[in-house]
Symmetry: C2
Subunit: 197 residues, 2 copies
Amino acid sequence: MTQTAEREALGRGEHARRRVLVAALEVLVEGGMPGFTMESVARRACASKATLYRHWPSPSALLVDAMDAEFRPSPDLDTGDLRADMISLVSGLATGLTGSRFPTLMAAFVDAAERDPALADLHAELTRRRREPLLRLLAGAVGRGELAADTDTELVVDLLAAPFFYRRLIAHHPIPAEMPGAVVDHVLASLRIGPSS
Amino acid sequence: MTQTAEREALGRGEHARRRVLVAALEVLVEGGMPGFTMESVARRACASKATLYRHWPSPSALLVDAMDAEFRPSPDLDTGDLRADMISLVSGLATGLTGSRFPTLMAAFVDAAERDPALADLHAELTRRRREPLLRLLAGAVGRGELAADTDTELVVDLLAAPFFYRRLIAHHPIPAEMPGAVVDHVLASLRIGPSS
């Protein structure tokens, strides 16, 4: 194969792969977890089941890739302005939850995880990855002495992220534009500030 | 009818009513919202559909009564010790979410509400009622000047309640016994204290 043909083949493969990932989320949004099978995704993507199994060993693996492709965790952020960086990361979450696809997919995971331990693990892993940029931002602030060394960064991320999921999925109330700032200010006010600040 | 016979008939009616409410939650836990019909609840309760419709005009009305009967909102609490009362109310929520029925039912509501606006309203109403004791406790503290007059009590209830739902349903992590105290202390530290304290 010439290099050009090789690049074209790679391009076609990558294109087909993306089409499957998009189809996977469509199937999940419409039918929920019970309807999520390799067969239904293959049909929606106009691909063969064999093609799907060449890329993904199981529906779970396909699902993780599809979620990652659509809802990439925010990139790391550490401008040195802790409050602004926290608001920026929290606003990204709020924006996702104000859209229509992300909360519907989250809701499907929440319910299906109750009946399927493998899915609960998968959902926990997706949540863990989404938390990482905030955790690293807080760890950086602890490292610089901006926050106290004994800050419970896991609990602080809970306090920052949870109100947005709760508003959207439990209370069914809108998330106003000022909410990320208000939540960050409450949480920052509750933190003991480290020695060097 | 003699008074005794009347009391007995009432007792039988109340007993049958409770049996239906218990059956309703069992049907919901097992089959989720799609399987929740007057027919399936009547079958489970060994009652007739006519009996159910005599008490409840619709499956939604039955569902609200069943949730209320099982998960009564905490009674009001205002001993004058704001921190202790907050911890007590938040601990009640944490205990419910550590059990097995309440989170599974919440998860079913979360997912079903995405596809059924009437159910989303119902879920919002159940959440609103569950929030009331905390809201009234905070309003009392504002009234006494223990908390600032401009305290956003709705946001404060979000901050207090959300982390427990998030841990259980989104992060799939355990809720440790010390979490209610830790969350309350963070939130209290973030509140401006009113003039008289």
